[in-house]
């Protein structure tokens, strides 16, 4: 979650060391792989793929076809990333993302500027500058271990609630 002046990162577990999170070396490696697989890139790619005529644009209010034949642009993106990362559509996507959504040079510059001068504060309540972030639209999901953990917890809860976890499906003869 980000605005022009702040970034919000919800984490599943309590953050102990904020400096490590913003260490440039780790951040650079992390940023590259994260950007390659992340939702921002996929969103940029979808735009390119629509213009290239590979997929149809989804309109708000349009009825979803629900056809098994149509697959998402995310699948196309993942496949190109794996087998043809320098495909012209991928080049355009990277350029679009770099220009439009994430300004790498400014991130680098900021990290250099505030290196070693990070204050990590655990607040009692919500900071005033943080409040508007909770109302922002357009969250970018970070697809990682947290997603699998949440999914495991939620599906276990659903099984428990339905009582299906107690039923061993008995053979029918």
């Amino acid at each position: 979650m980000a605005t022009d002046y702040a970034v919000m990162l919800p984490s599943l577990e309590r953050l102990r060391d904020a400096a490590a999170l913003l260490a440039p070396a780790g951040l650079r490696v992390g940023l590259e792989t994260w950007l390659a697989g992340n939702a921002v890139m996929k969103r940029s790619f979808r735009g390119c793929a629509v213009i290239a005529g590979l997929i149809e644009r989804n309109m708000p209010g349009q009825r979803k076809s629900g056809r098994q034949a149509t697959f998402s642009s995310d699948i196309l993106y993942d496949t190109l990333l794996k087998y043809d990362p320098d495909h012209v559509l991928m080049q355009i996507t990277r350029e679009e993302a770099r220009k439009g959504l994430v300004d790498f040079d400014r991130i680098e510059e900021m990290l250099a500027r505030c290196a070693g001068r990070l204050d990590h504060k655990e607040l009692e309540g919500l900071a005033p500058v943080a409040a508007p972030l909770f109302l922002e639209m357009g969250r970018v999901p970070v697809q990682g271990a947290a997603e699998e953990q949440l999914l495991a917890a939620e599906t276990a809860r659903l099984m428990e609630a339905s009582g299906l976890n107690k039923i061993v499906i008995a053979p029918v003869r």
């Binding site: 005529g53 590979l54 629900g66 056809r67 098994q68 034949a69 149509t70 697959f71 998402s72 699948i75 196309l76 496949t79 190109l80 794996k82 087998y83 043809d84 495909h87 559509l89 969250r139 999901p141 997603e147 699998e148 949440l150 999914l151 495991a152 939620e154 599906t155 659903l158 099984m159 339905s162 299906l164 039923i167 061993v168 499906i169 008995a170 053979p171 029918v172 003869r173």
Partner: protein, 220 residues
């Protein structure tokens, strides 16, 4: 967890694997559905849309890693293995070689699907359906005690403001429907009428992906 979710169907102990293949360990049968090999080729031929053609290789490599891990005696492809009959000729030499390597030393069964309703040039038995023990393997669900594919089921789990949708197995006491294994395949949500009608109360969905997640079949 990573080995998948084990359940019983007419006395057969089956494993729904996170990769999307069904494994019958006792009979050493690996079953996979809706590979849709050659899909990009067919799209290009029929609609002129040039989708990047890497999905056939990707699908075959993922299947190969499952075959290497499990060493099945019998492999059953549950239909729509090829996106159409012409697409079965579109595999390049490396892709064909990969398929031949997987077929070596085991029985291979091609079940006919609506996309590939006839023999293909690859070796193996071409059947409309296949019976083994208490189970019948066919493309589209019809009766009981059956393993089928065709519908490409997927299920959605709401997580806070988000919703995570993944291809899934659906099973109840009478049948199991496999997810589509092909890389360029979409899915049909489990709350679609046809799936609601096919699956009985108490049906379970097994999400595929990094790991299996088991939940009551979402009915919308």
């Amino acid at each position: 967890m990573s080995d998948g979710h084990v359940f019983s169907l007419f006395g057969a102990e089956l494993t729904a694997r996170a990769s999307g293949v069904l494994w019958w360990a006792h009979r050493r049968i690996l079953c996979v559905s809706d590979l849709h090999l050659g899909k990009s080729d067919r799209l290009a031929r029929r609609s002129g849309i040039m989708v990047p053609p890497y999905e056939t290789t990707d699908t075959l490599l993922r299947l190969q890693s499952e075959i290497e891990a499990l060493a099945p005696q019998i492999v059953i492809c549950l239909g729509d293995s090829f996106d159409d009959l012409q697409a079965s000729d579109s595999l390049d030499p490396a892709e064909s070689a990969c398929l031949y390597r997987m077929q070596a030393g085991r029985q291979w069964i091609w079940i006919e699907g609506n996309h590939d309703p006839g023999p293909v040039e690859f070796s193996g038995a071409h059947l409309a359906e296949y019976r083994h023990g208490p189970l019948v393997f066919r493309h589209i669900a019809e009766t009981e005690a059956e393993v089928s594919g065709h519908y490409h089921p997927k299920a959605a789990v709401p997580l806070g403001r988000r919703r995570i949708t993944r291809p899934c197995f659906l099973y109840d006491q009478h049948r199991v429907i496999l997810p589509a294994f092909g890389t360029f395949t979409g899915g049909l949500r489990s709350d679609a009428t046809v799936l609601q009608d096919l699956m009985r109360p108490g049906a379970v969905a097994v999400l595929t992906g990094q790991t299996c997640h088991v939940l009551p079949m979402p009915r919308g």
